[in-house]
Amino acid sequence: MATRLQFENSCEIGAFSKLTNAYCLTAIGGSENFYSAFEAELADVIPVVKTSIGGTRLVGFLSVGNKNGLLLPHTTTDQELQHLRNSLPDQVVVQRIEEKLSALGNCIACNDHVALAHTDLDKETEELLADVLGVEVFRQTVAGNVLSGSYCALSNRGGLVHPHTSIEDLDELSTLLQVPLVAGTVNRGSEAIAAGMVVNDWTAFCGSDTTATELSVIDNVFMLRGDTRPGDGFDGMRKSLLDSYK
């Protein structure tokens, strides 16, 4: 079940946090509520680390990672790098890379097996991605936008993309990523999916403006409700919505 929260009155929580299967990064905010929400869900399972990147709070936009590793932009300070190396589990490789497009979170969307990258990404970065994160990299656009990282939210079980994605594109991406994809919105019709939510294999967090419809779509595509069946919103809800006399 997805949780709704806010970071300092903003619903764009994907900017301020990064969630993977092995760890969670959050920004250092004004109130502890943001951090507490993550802690409440994840404390027993994975480490939740408070950090800044390059002195900013935009942890989600600037970094990209999965259970195998974490990539940081060149603006990251040494202290931050060390702090992260210390806090995260040993099997997670933390690496700082030199890349012209420093908002790695906006440019790259990845799960544990496959990644969608900005079409203008450097060759070295692509190789590093394949090396450090252990993923297969595809340079793709989502609904005509090169920032594939911000318009697509990916987990190992499903993905949510920009609502204007055509059916052919959806099919193509789905084939590449080998997961079911759905076009939808988050935060009351906002098209920047990854900015509005973070997701891993068993949980998701969305901005507080997200409507019930959007939440049910997210629950379905990322299979968060414990149903193994993927699919359309209504089918999933059928059992809970319809009474039967049998």
Partner: protein
């Protein structure tokens, strides 16, 4: 487009998403909400004017356009719609709303309500454009406009008066001016027209109308004018002064066919033409012809009034002569559109014709018109008793007779008074009852004016003549008396289609060809 460049483009099918509010399937749009949800979220007509006041004058059916103009508008017309929408425009611009469509909803004419259904568009939620229509109600308030209230308070009220005067003993100029004014519609704005002794008074409700009329007269006659104003009322709080303006316009006393003895100053301006000159044409300048030398001179209004001279003899004093012999002296000269031939002639007064042998040998400018046996009208300087200082002072040669025009009197008398095939319109003038008017004299003068019109095509140039339905040409064709020359008359193709005057004259036929020339085969 990449497609035009020959690149292979995959056909894109737009997928569907769920509306973020109600969850129904829909095509993705900028707000990612279905239209109903969007409408329920946002009301773009919020803050727009829905009830307005229109001020309407019941007398003249016009609406007030602030601050002071009144425009005449019909109910349910395009102009009224534009007028109503203009009032909404500023409010719409402030709310960043765009007007897309507007139309009237029918209301009872007496309900004093005008309803307009307006469709507007506004941008909401980063790019989605929403369209909504709503009703605007205009309440019509009745309020008499200024001009109607002024008319109702005092119907004879005038602000500007033009007093047109000419100090001569006939009214020919005013008949001609009346026709000119009618043709050009210069007196359309006049509130009242009054006939006075030696002139006409025109009354207007606005100073600029009066001024325009004075300028029009200035273009068609040589005039001298002055204007004055008289304070009527004064509002000391708002410093508004109301005046009555009077324009005094005097037309020069020189008329066509007058005989003039030029003072030396005037003669000098004109190149020393002989002191005895004939006035041939009066427009906004005076054309003078020396009958002995065929030399021409023009005086415009300013020059005339600087050396203001009076005529020696006017057309009242024309005497009929019979021509015995005529001998052209010069060749044909065309001046100002008319031909003249200098000729020596032997003439005698008709009054002398049978009784005595008085004959005159004179030089005349009518050599192209006259033949032996013709009658002509001219001034008798030999027998006239003139009272002119210039003439007394002049030491040189003064002709005894100056012929002016050919006379058609005899021929006219042979034809019984026949109806003319054309007629003229007239201004509706008030005639002052207190002044004694000699009816016969007036009628004779008017008849003379009409004859003048028939004889001179150039005079007809600026006048509208209308077809007379009562005229029957068949009667006239039966006349067989033959005199060799037709009486001048107005050809049919100069007559105007009288549908211009349908109300007054009942003539509704268009003229196609003239029924032949109206020249009588005599």
């Amino acid at each position: 487009m990449a497609q035009d460049a020959g690149m292979f483009m995959v056909h894109q099918t737009i997928g569907s998403v769920l509306c973020c509010k109600c969850g129904i399937r829909m095509q993705p749009n900028a707000a990612n909400m279905c239209v109903k949800c969007l409408r329920s979220e946002v009301d773009i007509t919020e803050g727009l004017l829905k009830r307005l006041v229109l001020v309407h004058c019941p007398e003249c059916e016009s609406y007030l356009q602030p601050p002071r103009t009144w425009v005449k508008l019909q109910l349910e017309s395009k102009e009224l719609l534009t007028f109503c929408l203009k009032k909404l425009q500023k409010n719409m611009n402030i709310n960043k709303v765009k007007l897309v469509n507007a139309e009237f909803i029918w209301t009872e004419p007496h309900s004093k309500r005008v309803k307009v259904k307006v469709s507007v568009q506004k941008e909401v939620y980063n790019g989605a454009i929403l369209e909504q229509s709503y009703l605007v109600e205009y309440v019509q308030q009745d309020h008499m406009c200024e001009s109607c209230s002024r008319v109702a308070a005092n119907p004879d009220q005038w602000v500007a008066a033009v007093q047109l005067r000419q100090h001569v003993s006939h009214r020919r100029t005013f008949y001609y001016l009346e026709q000119l004014i009618l043709r050009h519609g210069a007196a359309a704005r006049a509130v009242r027209i009054k006939q006075m002794d030696h002139g006409i008074d025109f009354y207007f409700s606005n100073r600029s109308h009066g001024n325009k009329f004075v300028e029009f007269i200035g273009k068609v006659a040589p005039v001298k004018s002055r204007s004055d104003k008289q304070l009527v009322s004064h509002d000391s709080k708002s410093n508004n002064y109301n005046y009555k303006y009077t324009f005094s316009v005097e037309i020069s006393p020189i008329c066509r066919e007058d005989l003039i003895c030029l003072p030396p100053k005037a003669a000098a301006i004109l190149g020393n033409i002989g002191p005895i000159v004939v006035c041939t044409k009066v427009t906004n300048s005076i054309a003078l012809l020396d009958p002995l030398t065929l030399k021409f001179g023009f005086l415009d209004a300013e020059q005339y009034w600087r050396t203001s001279f009076k005529s020696l003899l006017t057309s009242r004093q024309l005497v009929e002569y019979i021509v015995f012999d005529i001998e052209p002296v010069s060749s044909e000269i065309t001046v100002g559109g008319t031909k003249y031939v200098l000729a020596d002639a032997q003439v005698a007064r008709v009054s002398d014709f049978g009784s005595n042998d008085t004959q005159f040998s004179i030089r005349t400018h009518l050599g192209h018109l006259l033949k032996p046996g013709d009658h002509a009208l001219g001034y008798d300087l030999y027998g006239a008793n003139t009272n002119d200082m210039e003439l007394d002072r002049y030491k040189g040669y003064i002709p005894e007779v100056v012929l002016i025009k050919k006379s058609y009197e005899e021929k006219r008398q042979k034809k019984r008074a026949k109806a003319r095939s054309w007629k003229l319109k007239s201004l509706n003038m008030e005639v002052d009852d207190k002044i004694k008017v000699d009816e016969d004299k007036r009628d004779a003068e008017y008849e003379h004016f009409l004859k003048d019109l028939e004889e001179n095509p150039e005079l007809r140039f600026n006048i509208s003549l209308y077809q007379n339905k009562d005229y029957q040409p068949s009667e006239v064709a039966s006349v067989t008396e033959d005199d060799g020359e037709p009486i001048p008359s107005v050809p049919d193709d100069e007559l105007l289609a009288a549908n211009l005057l349908a109300a007054e004259f009942d003539d509704l036929d268009l003229i196609e060809d003239g029924d032949g020339e109206d020249n009588m085969a005599e």
